[in-house]
């Protein structure tokens, strides 16, 4: 009897050991693949960095070329008053479009997810949604904003604000909380629109989110980092 029991115990042990071996072999395999994977990743990461550097360089060159273009354009038009007027109109268009860095009086709005999440409230109410940003922008536009940027992204005619999962993108660039929305325009109108009772900021702050607006005397808004052109538009005469 005893010998039989020992035999059975040993049998079970052998079985377990075999399983352990199998597991170990699998572990080794996956460990190996992890190593090769991260190697491939590193190469990919390098490639991304190289491409970004290439873009940064080209973007810098473009900024310089645009400055030079403005200079030669001015030079070429300076002796001709109609051409000079057109040059001025072009400059203004570029400011409106977001092709130039602009500055002026305005306001800065800060939106930030609630610091402490209270479990008695809906968690979804305690974070800033992309629709909150849209509504603030809409309010600023209503108050006559001439230029608006969100976390460094200048809003242009083709700018969209999107949300995939918990990632908000503007102009295709990822942005995160806290959100700084800056607008150039009449300081008193912009400030008034956002501080009146029942304003959009009140609604956002209701569940503990941070929603503040401050007057700023000189806001600098950088140009749009993408390119502006069209493919489908035709002018109607």
């Amino acid at each position: 009897m005893k010998k039989k029991q020992i035999a059975i115990t040993l049998g079970i042990m052998c079985f377990l050991l075999t399983i352990a071996l199998c597991v170990q072999i699998k572990t080794m395999n996956s460990a190996n693949s992890t190593v090769s994977q991260s190697l491939a990743d590193n190469e990919l990461r390098d490639e991304v960095l190289r491409m970004k550097e290439k873009y940064d360089n080209a973007y810098r060159d473009l900024a310089n070329a645009q400055k030079e273009l403005e200079k030669v354009r001015q030079e070429a038009t300076q002796n001709d008053s109609t051409a000079e007027a057109k040059e001025q109109a072009l400059r203004e268009n570029n400011m409106i479009l977001g092709r130039t860095d602009v500055q002026g009086e305005g306001v800065e709005v800060i939106l930030e997810d609630a610091a402490s999440t209270s479990s008695s409230l809906n968690a979804s109410d305690q974070i800033i949604h992309f629709s909150d940003i849209q509504l603030v922008v809409n309010e600023l536009a209503n108050a006559g904003a001439e230029a608006i940027e969100i976390n460094g992204q200048r809003l242009v005619n083709t700018s969209s604000i999107t949300c995939e999962g918990n990632i908000i993108r503007i102009n295709g660039e990822r942005i995160g909380t806290p959100f700084y929305i800056r607008a150039i325009g009449s300081q008193s109108r912009l400030y008034g629109a956002l501080t009146r009772a029942g304003s959009i900021l009140d609604a956002i702050a209701y569940y503990g989110n941070r929603a503040e607006v401050t007057k700023v005397d000189n806001i600098v808004i950088s140009r749009y980092s993408g390119t502006l052109n069209y493919e489908y538009l035709k002018e109607d005469k």
Binding site: V72, E92, S186, E235
Partner: protein, 240 residues
């Protein structure tokens, strides 16, 4: 003797069981490791796909900028040529001004595109429905957008008025049905808006609050903005 043998058996069994326990614990530890490592592999995979997306994004941006750089350099050369030859630069500037007026929204435009019509159903069309739609059209690459013949630009506001009885777009009063036109790649825009789950048309139909319809058109006409485009508060940042 018999008793002693019995005890030896027990000792042996105890030892064996002890060893088994140790082996089992090691196996478990190994297993934990395996599990951890699988997690890492998953993250690594995610990273890889993210990296691939990032790479293609930077590449697209680089190509855009490179094209514009070439165009800008060509323009500079053209202007330099007129300066050298002492010619009038009006033709060149006319061309640039024309292009930028189209982008700003100072001209009536036409082109292929889509028309989305919203009307009251079980509920009313609200300003946010239009904000949402305009945002999605921009995402889908719309080059010009109008709502009931009012041009929509980056600083255009869309506001509910009179207790949701009408909507103001760019300070102009409009009423339903709301006809939203967009010029751009009509097939791409219609695909994006019709996406199951996330597209505007699908989302709106699922909630069945308001009625929505979409048509693709070979020619959509969009009027110029009624803005005066007076710049009052912003000025150029002086370059160093």
């Amino acid at each position: 003797m018999k008793k002693f043998k019995f005890r030896a058996d027990i000792t042996a069994v105890t030892v064996v069981v002890f060893i088994v326990c140790i082996v089992l614990v090691s196996v478990m530890l190994m297993q934990f490791r395996t599990v951890e490592q699988t997690d890492i592999t998953e993250i690594e995979n995610m990273r890889e796909s993210e990296l691939r997306t990032a790479l293609s994004e930077w590449k697209t941006k680089y190509e855009e900028v490179a094209t514009q750089l070439e165009e800008t350099n060509n323009r500079i050369e053209e202007y330099n040529q007129t300066i050298e030859d002492n010619e009038a630069a009006s033709e060149l500037i006319d061309e640039e001004l024309k292009e930028s007026n189209i982008l700003v929204g100072k001209t009536d435009v036409y082109g292929e595109g889509i028309v989305v019509t919203l009307s009251d159903g079980n509920g009313q069309v609200e300003a946010y429905d239009l904000i949402d739609l305009v945002n999605e059209l921009r995402y889908a690459g719309a080059e010009a957008i109008s709502i009931n013949e009012v041009r929509v630009l980056s600083t255009t506001d869309i506001i509910d008025m009179g207790g949701y009885t009408y909507i103001m777009v760019n300070l102009q009063r409009i009423q339903g049905p709301y006809v939203v036109k967009a010029i751009g790649d009509k097939d791409y825009m219609s695909t994006i808006l019709n996406l199951k789950g996330s597209g505007f048309i699908d989302r709106t139909r699922t909630s069945s609050r308001i009625n929505v319809s979409l048509t693709t058109e070979k020619r959509v006409e969009i009027p110029k903005s009624n803005n005066d485009f007076e710049i009052e508060y912003m000025r150029e940042v002086e370059s160093e």
